[in-house]
């Protein structure tokens, strides 16, 4: 589904990713772990096309398409979804209006009829319930005044609505208590399917107790230095990143 070959990316001339190779097959959940500053979030942002990052070398194929040639919105329509680490607040645009526009754009792209307001509301309420988000949030501005946890729930709620081919979670677990973590993990797990994959970026192993990965990669200094199964995450939790010879302070640059 996703093939990343020798990916190099930099921000304002500073190289962050230095030759990433990664292959995600349909139905797989891959975790990318690594110390702060290793390039985990950069990888997530580059995949969805954040323009602050310049891809200097390598290629990304998504379902055979050259992802780097697609605009941000085209990548989303192709089936990419990023649950942001820090979702922005957009006062004046209601969650409802935003979600409905997004969902109907996607439906149109797939040749489906747009959802009318009542059907949309029904669906949105159902998905909000799945992540324990009160329907009142739908009327508020996008993420406006949401707590950290509410923002993360809102991201997963959007993912449940959009049903992407590849869901990318960027440190979705950060700042969450255990109940919220479980709720969010449950939301993600209901989406798991043979034709849908996930890339879970996280610093800690604990999220991976609930979203069990098929493959775990360790990213350090812009490169994947080790790949294994879920055991690898547990060993990292036990021994720390130092176990792999990574100096966290150095890796963070």
């Amino acid at each position: 589904m996703l093939t990343i070959k020798n990916l190099h990316a930099s921000v304002e001339g500073t190289p962050i990713l230095k030759g990433i190779n990664l292959e995600i097959k349909p139905g797989e959940v891959h975790a990318v772990m690594g110390p702060n500053g290793s390039g985990k979030s950069t990888l997530a942002q580059v995949l969805v096309g954040h323009e602050a990052f310049e891809v200097t070398e390598g290629e990304i194929l998504f379902d055979g398409q050259n992802l780097l040639e697609l605009e941000v919105e085209e990548r989303a329509l192709a089936g990419l979804f990023l649950a942001f680490q820090y979702p922005v607040e957009i006062p004046g645009v209601s969650n409802l209006q935003f979600l409905r526009t997004a969902l109907n754009t996607l439906r149109k792209h797939h040749g489906q009829d747009e959802l009318d307001a009542p059907s949309f509301m029904k669906l949105a309420k159902e998905k909000a319930k799945q992540v324990d988000l009160s329907p009142d949030f739908l009327k508020r501005g996008v993420n406006e005044g949401f707590s950290g946890g509410e923002k993360k729930r809102n991201e997963i709620m959007q993912m449940l609505m959009m049903e992407p081919r590849l869901g990318i979670l960027d440190e979705t677990d950060s700042g969450l208590d255990i109940d919220a973590l479980k709720t969010i993990a449950n939301g993600v797990n209901t989406l798991r399917a043979d034709n849908r994959s996930f890339l879970v970026v996280t610093h800690y192993q604990r999220l991976l107790n609930h979203i069990v990965p098929d493959v775990v990669h360790v990213l350090a200094n812009g490169q994947i230095i080790k790949t294994g199964d879920k055991q690898l995450a547990m060993e990292l939790e036990e021994h720390g990143y130092g176990w792999l010879g990574i100096n966290e302070a150095e890796a963070a640059g």
Partner: protein, 435 residues
């Protein structure tokens, strides 16, 4: 070489001060003649005229704009439900197309139908709400008076539906018109007044409109001004309001840019306990212009004013906001809050904003803020990362910028209509920019 040589004075062409007003009652005809004489050959504001500094370059009063605009016969009044409609076509009141309230306490009359006594009373009050030093072209309106509307509310009269004035300009041929409205709101009266300017045809035309509102004690007037006609309509408008004790003005001025768009809103808080809210939205695109000049005079103690204007300028357009607050020496315990936020939608657009505070009393609170910004890239990225195309995302964010002010328009039907028209306007702008 002196500066004067660089900016030669352009006199108002004589074509703009023809004979006329023959149907007016004598006192109004007399006022017309006085104004006409006073402005004959007057120098038009130029870039050294402070209150036209940014706008004089759009002020081209070519003689072809002088003739009165004429009806083409194919009336195209946008239908509006649930209102009393008053049509002013090419500056002339069209009672046949209007639907006026019949309840007692509301008196709506054409100037040309006033008897001499009533006309005398109106003539005394006309032009008294505006500062003539800063509304030079309002005098042109009085000098070209052919008709006008007097709306009088008796004490404690509440008009059950909005009075909706549609100003229709036939722009099939070049010309100009000079609509005039005078509202006298008696003690404790209540009304929503909507002024909508519409136009058909594509020739350059000038609308020079003046509306004056006199709010007696405890009167409550909601004023909604929709200046959204196409760009070929050059519009110089002035609205003057006097607010009496415990009276309330709730003003919402919403407009699109054009070849020339100027609105002066001047509010005088003349009775204690008076309140004025001034909201405004101006959108410009292409090479359009919009200039909002507001002035709030706190003349007496214990009055409040809240002002919130927002401008969005796209393409190569030019938006201007000038907000003056004048707290007079006696006006202790005044509270004035002025805010102007601006959004530049293109690097080629220009926005000039200038708060002007003159405070002569010491026990007052007076806050002001002005910002100019651009669409937030982080928000654009967030929306597009959900599959929404960039133009739609930019439109959503632009509408978010005026969301609060649109939400404060008190009538749902008008609010919805405004929302749709603003969205369409912004969408068109992004579409053009993308081409």
């Amino acid at each position: 070489m002196t500066l004067a040589h660089k900016t030669p004075l352009t006199p108002l062409d004589d074509a703009f001060t023809p004979e006329g007003g023959k149907q007016l009652p004598a006192p109004l005809k007399s006022l017309r003649d006085i104004r006409s004489k006073a402005i004959t050959g007057m120098a038009l504001p130029n870039r050294r005229t402070e209150n036209w500094k940014y706008s004089s370059r759009y002020l081209k009063l070519d003689p072809e704009l002088a003739p009165q605009t004429q009806g083409t016969g194919d009336a195209d009044y946008r239908s509006v439900e649930g209102v009393y409609r008053l049509v002013i076509r090419n500056g002339v009141v069209d009672l046949d197309s209007s639907n006026l309230p019949s309840a007692s306490g509301v008196d709506i009359r054409r100037f040309v139908d006033l008897d001499d006594v009533a006309a005398q009373s109106v003539a005394k009050k006309l032009d008294t709400t505006l500062d003539h030093g800063t509304t030079q072209l309002a005098a042109l309106n009085t000098a070209r008076l052919e008709d006008g509307v007097l709306i009088r509310l008796s004490a404690d009269t509440s008009v059950d539906k909005p009075v909706y004035i549609q100003y229709v300009t036939d722009a099939g041929a070049s010309g100009s018109n000079y609509p005039r409205v005078m509202v006298e709101a008696g003690q404790g009266s209540k009304m929503t007044l909507v002024e909508e300017y519409i136009s058909n045809g594509d020739q350059p035309v000038l609308v020079d409109s003046v509306s004056e509102l006199l709010l007696d004690d405890s009167a409550n007037i909601t004023y909604i001004r929709l200046c959204m006609d196409p760009a070929n309509v050059r519009h110089i408008g002035a609205t003057g309001v006097k607010v009496g004790a415990n009276a309330k003005l709730d003003s919402h001025c919403i407009g699109f840019g054009g070849d020339l768009r100027r609105h002066d809103l001047q509010v005088r808080l003349e009775g204690q306990g008076g309140y004025a809210r001034l909201n405004g939205i101006a959108l410009t695109q292409d090479r359009q212009h919009y200039d909002n000049h507001t002035a709030i005079d706190h003349v007496v103690p214990n009055c409040d004013s809240d002002e919130n204007y927002r401008c969005l300028a796209a393409d190569r357009s030019h938006a201007i906001f000038n907000g003056r607050i004048h707290i007079h020496p006696d006006a202790q315990q005044s509270h004035a809050d002025m805010n102007n936020k601006n959004l530049l939608l293109s690097t080629n657009a220009e926005i000039d904003t200038k708060p002007e505070l003159e405070i002569y009393a010491d026990d007052v609170t007076c806050a002001h803020g002005a910002t100019v910004g651009q669409l937030d890239e982080g928000s654009l990225f967030y929306l597009t990362s959900r599959g929404i195309d960039r133009d739609t995302a930019a439109t959503m964010l632009s509408m978010a910028f005026v969301h609060e002010l649109v939400g404060q328009v008190p009538l749902e039907d008008i609010r919805e209509a405004v929302n749709t028209r603003l969205t369409d306007f912004i969408e068109a702008s992004f579409r053009r920019a993308a081409e």
